[in-house]
């Protein structure tokens, strides 16, 4: 009925409401900075060399996708899961096991268009089962249980030779070739990664505003009240784990295509914690945070060695730097780099207003 009214009598306000709703759903389309970033990312292959394209930007996007799945769980669901990298690693292993690789005795040799969906489905199942375990307890316990799952998977891949090939892992994993394009070539792979990262980013943003995402945020804020309203908090949480597992699985597939090999080192406890660091440093309240965090992390990891040596320090102390930076962020900003930036901007705006007000007065 409201539709009828608006189309017949007040066409203009309805258009603006629709537009406002559109802007509320997709705030990035209204932000000139977002358009600029998107443009730069799209023309990046013209600017950057192959090294930067893959080692910096593609790696950033892949780590960002995995951290995005953690951000979704932590930011909207209030569940800090340390097993997101484990799910990604599981997806990577499954690509290597079902697809083609140098370890012919393990790999089943399926074509990539069959192996990849299979890997994603299994990774989603794995994440959902892990989530179903983790939601049996709440809050701080989630970290412990998901860390235990991640560590158990790491030790399992180290011990198991039949499927995961022990500590040597699986090497020379085949990457997709079709339509006459080698999709692992630098530029093509960059665009694949960028496309998937964009899809994941907008998917998370969409879900966060969809009824499911709003209910999930309600569960985060007050699960007993949501239960009283007739929602099933645990079902929402498990569904969130499933969605996040799918995103993490996408990241894992990209990661195994990027490195063309996977070994227990890729799913170690330290790597799981790196994902948490990335998400927290970037900020876990918005989907853009993990990508910013991943960019900082990758820059530090790549260049800390040279910078430290330039300052006459020991270049091997990269992890010390990461740890101290992480501690500083946790100490001073509850919302990572985004939080720091917003605080700085608010401070800036308010001081500008004050000076402006002074001039008028």
């Amino acid at each position: 009925m409201s539709l009828l009214q608006s189309t017949q009598f007040r066409p203009d306000p309805s258009a603006t409401t629709a537009r406002r709703a559109f802007i509320r759903a997709w705030p990035d389309f209204q932000n000139p900075a977002a358009w600029l970033v998107a443009l730069i990312l799209i023309i990046m292959p013209l600017i950057a060399s192959g090294f930067f394209l893959i080692e910096i930007f593609a790696t950033t996007l892949i780590l960002g996708i995995i951290a995005l799945s953690l951000m979704f769980l932590a930011g909207y669901g209030g569940m800090v899961s340390l097993m997101q990298l484990t799910i990604a690693g599981f997806a990577g292993y499954m690509v290597a096991v079902f697809g083609v690789s140098g370890n012919a005795n393990i790999s089943l040799g399926w074509p990539w268009w069959l192996a990849t969906p299979m890997a994603l489905a299994l990774a989603t199942l794995f994440g959902t089962l892990g989530g179903a375990l983790a939601v049996r307890t709440e809050g701080i316990y989630t970290i412990m249980i998901t860390l235990a799952i991640g560590a158990a998977f790491y030790y399992f891949t180290n011990q198991n030779w039949a499927i995961f090939n022990g500590h040597t892992g699986i090497n020379t994993v085949a990457t997709p070739h079709f339509w006459g394009v080698d999709w692992r070539a630098d530029i093509a792979f960059y665009y694949v990664t960028l496309g998937i990262a964009a899809i994941c980013y907008f998917a998370v943003q969409y879900v966060s505003r969809a009824p499911f995402g709003l209910a999930l945020q309600g569960v985060r804020d007050n699960s007993r009240r949501m239960a009283a309203l007739g929602f099933n908090p645990n079902a929402h949480r498990i569904a969130a784990y499933a969605f996040a597992a799918f995103i993490a699985g996408l990241g894992g597939v990209l990661q195994v295509w990027n490195y063309r090999q996977i070994s227990p080192g890729s799913v170690s406890v330290g790597a799981c914690i790196d994902i948490l660091i990335i998400a927290v440093v970037g900020g876990i309240t918005r989907p853009i945070g993990p990508f910013i965090g991943a960019f900082i992390f990758v820059l530090l990891r790549t260049f800390a060695l040279d910078v430290l040596i330039k300052f006459g320090l020991d270049g091997n102390r990269f992890r010390l730097l990461i740890g101290l930076g992480f501690l500083a962020i946790v100490f001073w900003s509850s919302d990572g780099v985004i939080g720091l930036w917003e605080r700085w901007r608010r401070h800036h705006v308010s001081s500008a207003k004050r000076t402006g007000g002074g001039r008028h007065g």
């Binding site: 049996r136 249980i145 235990a148 011990q159 406890v269």
Partner: protein
């Protein structure tokens, strides 16, 4: 006990049968058919004893972890780092002075001091913010791990066992009877038994301190409701510092123990952090008897698993955790 039998007669029967089977496996001489099916009795007994003594070590690490968690709701993910740090301190002291006992004392004191500093300088500032505290402990574990790697390098260290503890002793457990009719008894390293006995003593002492002393009463009250405890006039910050020091010190002692019958290297911190996480999840968070039970279960599962199903040993540990979470999410011996 009697009440349990009355309430769950079926479970009690199963438990009694299980205990009888285990006792028979330990004390009887195995018939040849059984030895053919699952291997020598000596291997089995060694695995059981290794599991129980490993459980003693796990208990030392996990009891500090669970104590800190129970009172302060602080999931100290740097606990593994404290363990490894204690081990390195113990190694340095024992090579420097040659005294094994002294290395325990110094490791306890130094690591407890680190715990006091952490509680005063870091965790006190963010009381009640569970998630932030946990994040800080993650950051600290990264920093500690890298600092220790810097100082001690990536080598393996082993703390020298003192001369009076070296060598096996004969246990009154029959493993087989020779064809000449002569009984063969089990030989087992003395040091592991001594360490296990020490961890039992520490566990009993902790239980007594918690249940029979005034300080213990305060700590137990704090585990139940720290706000009301603070409101009754107890200097709760002091209690927090003491408990943190004790928990950290126990991790330090455990480091020396682990350095004696295993070895110290980077990565051990994560291993023992995982072990204490699983032990505490299985046994019940914040419960000392739960930590003891969980430690023995996990130690046995790890050792028996690595003997009888080598590739899936870690899965057994993990399955136990999953089962406990599915059936009793609060842990086996937790009240809530």
């Amino acid at each position: 006990m009697a009440r349990f039998i009355e309430r769950h007669p079926a479970w009690a029967l199963i438990a009694i049968i299980a205990i009888a089977v285990v006792l028979w496996l330990v004390f009887a001489i195995w018939p040849p058919g059984l030895e053919a099916a699952i291997g020598r009795k000596r291997v089995f007994l060694n695995a059981v004893l290794n599991g129980i003594t490993l459980g003693g070590l796990y208990f030392l690490v996990a009891s500090g972890f669970t104590l800190i968690f129970g009172l302060m709701r602080n999931v100290n993910l740097a606990h593994g780092s404290l363990y490894l740090f204690g081990g390195y301190i113990g190694y340095a002291i024992s090579t420097w002075t040659g005294s094994w006992i002294l290395s325990f004392i110094v490791a306890f004191i130094v690591v407890a001091l680190v715990g006091v500093i952490l509680q005063l300088a870091v965790f006190r500032r963010m009381e009640g913010q569970d998630l932030r505290q946990t994040m800080v402990t993650i950051g600290l574990s990264i920093v500690f791990a890298d600092l220790m790697l810097w100082v001690f390098g990536g080598d393996f260290y082993q703390i020298q066992t003192p001369a009076w503890l070296i060598g096996p002793i004969q246990l009154p457990l029959l493993t087989a009877i020779k064809s000449s009719g002569e009984p063969v008894y089990l030989q087992y390293p003395l040091v592991r038994l001594v360490i296990f006995a020490a961890s039992v003593v520490i566990g009993v002492a902790m239980w007594l301190a918690l249940n029979r002393t005034r300080i213990g009463m305060i700590v137990r009250a704090g585990v139940d409701d720290r706000d009301i405890l603070a409101a009754t006039g107890v200097r709760i910050q002091l209690v927090f510092v003491l408990v943190f020091a004790l928990g950290a010190g126990l991790a330090g002692i455990a480091g020396v123990v682990g350095g004696t019958f295993q070895s110290l290297s980077p990565g051990e911190d994560t291993r023992f952090l995982l072990a204490s996480l699983v032990v505490v999840i299985v046994g019940g968070m914040g419960s000392i008897p739960g930590a003891a039970l969980g430690a023995v279960i996990i130690g046995l599962a790890e050792q028996l698993g690595s003997v009888y199903i080598p590739t899936y040993a870690i899965v057994v540990t993990f399955l136990i955790m999953v089962l406990v979470l599915a059936l009793r999410p609060q842990g086996l011996l937790a009240r809530r």
